[in-house]
Amino acid sequence: MTPDSSTEWFEAPPPPDDEVMYVDVDGYEGPLDLLLDLARRQKVDLAQISVLALAEQYLSFIETVREKRIEIAADYLVMAAWLAYLKSRLMVPQAASDDEPTGEMMAALLQFRLKRLEAMRRTAMQLMNRPLLGQRMFARGAPEPITIHRKALWEASLFDLLRAYATQRERGVPNDYTPRERNVWSLQEAREILNRLIGDNMDWVPLDRYLAEYLATPAQRATAMASTFASSLELVRQGQVELRQSLAFGPLLVRRRKSDGPQTGT
């Protein structure tokens, strides 16, 4: 723990005459730094320093600073208060019932902190004196980068493939949709046809018979029946024809109604 190798650290505030203190807090990084500098002025191993003398020096330094009304960080004053207390503990004999730390313990703690800070400064120096990478030790100047080839791994399952094929084949099927021509008799048509067929026939004739010609094709049967039946009801309502059905599902008979009104028809 000899402090010889780290002199540069302590050149920052050049050691002036012990009696005439430089009053320059800017040169220190906090109260511990200042204390370490003061301790080093005692020119002895930190283990041998007089903590009492150190405390006195610090306190007188702070006093000078305050007399000159120099702005000083609170840290320094906190340390000054602590050192003043330390000083009193060191000078006044310890009472037996006192459970505060003894002056010796407090002095040892201060010494420990000073030694630790000094040690850290020295190690920092030693680290910087190592063969630093990029300054005294070198990595490969022209590293050969790893080139990354992105390769797409295409994913498709057999099912996807088959479905794609099937869908296309279905799509490809010539889908000629010719809507069935459905012959629907409109009510208007049916009425005209019915009027024409019945003519002036006053005899009961089954409706089917009139429609026989039209009912020949099964496709037309339903629509012809439905439309003519609906139209016949309409004609009945208008009083132009009469309908008769003697039993359920029996033949539906139709005849021209004798009327006074003008007859429609072609």
Partner: protein, 221 residues
């Protein structure tokens, strides 16, 4: 005259020292270095070129070689190990619908020309789609159809069979199987057929590819 002997014939120790220096300088340099650039770091009157040649020889069998680039020297990874510096990352991507359709048509209708594929799809097939399928290693150029324009015929590869778990093209389901699997609706014309695909040697109506065609598709072969 004995002085001359000492100066011209360097001791083995001095040579070793100089070789170490060359090694360190060449290793740390970002650029190849010439003998002239190296010389100032060595002793006076040292045969830099000779040392470089010796160093190159020492590294000849190693994973790193000392190589000459014009009149400069540099360490470089041995050619045969360059694969170490390549990383293949594989991104799994689903095949697009267009690619899937094109692939399936080629699979069932092979040998098929591009226009035949387009006819089935009812839409033009981009060159990119075929390239992609060839890059994936599933489709290859087979030959050229003996028809006007001599269009290229495409077929599937072994890798295709491998990927889709097919022993041969005969494993591709036929019409009835596709229907059975519910992939085709029942409403199909009775005359619809699924062709028998063929991936054997060139057919009678196929010519071999032109020499120009083959270039650049080595991966697929």
């Amino acid at each position: 005259m004995s002085d001359d002997f000492e100066s011209t014939a360097p001791s083995p120790d001095a040579a070793e020292r100089n070789l170490r220096i060359l090694e360190a300088l060449l290793f740390a340099s970002a650029e190849p270095l010439s003998a002239g650039e190296l010389a100032p770091h060595l002793g006076e009157g040292v045969d830099v070129e000779g040392l470089l040649a010796l160093l190159a020889e020492r590294y000849a069998g190693r994973g790193v070689h000392l190589v000459r680039r014009a009149d400069k020297w540099a360490f470089r990874t041995a050619e045969d190990l360059s694969f170490l510096l390549r990383r293949e990352t594989t991104d799994n991507k689903p095949l697009s619908r267009a690619a899937l359709e094109t692939l399936s048509i080629i699979a069932y209708h092979q040998p098929a020309t591009r226009s035949e594929v387009e006819e089935v799809r009812g839409v033009a097939t981009g060159k990119g789609t075929l390239d992609l399928l060839m890059e994936a290693g599933w489709v290859r150029m087979r030959g050229r159809r003996r028809t006007p324009g001599r269009p290229v015929t495409y077929g599937t590869t072994e890798a295709f069979l491998d990927h889709f778990g097919l022993e041969s093209l005969a494993d591709l389901p036929g019409l009835e199987e596709l229907k059975g699997a519910g992939l085709l609706s029942g409403r199909l014309p009775p005359n619809m057929q699924i062709p028998l695909p063929f991936d054997g040697p060139l057919r009678d109506d196929e010519d071999p590819l032109d020499p120009d065609d083959i270039e650049g598709q080595d991966e697929e072969q």
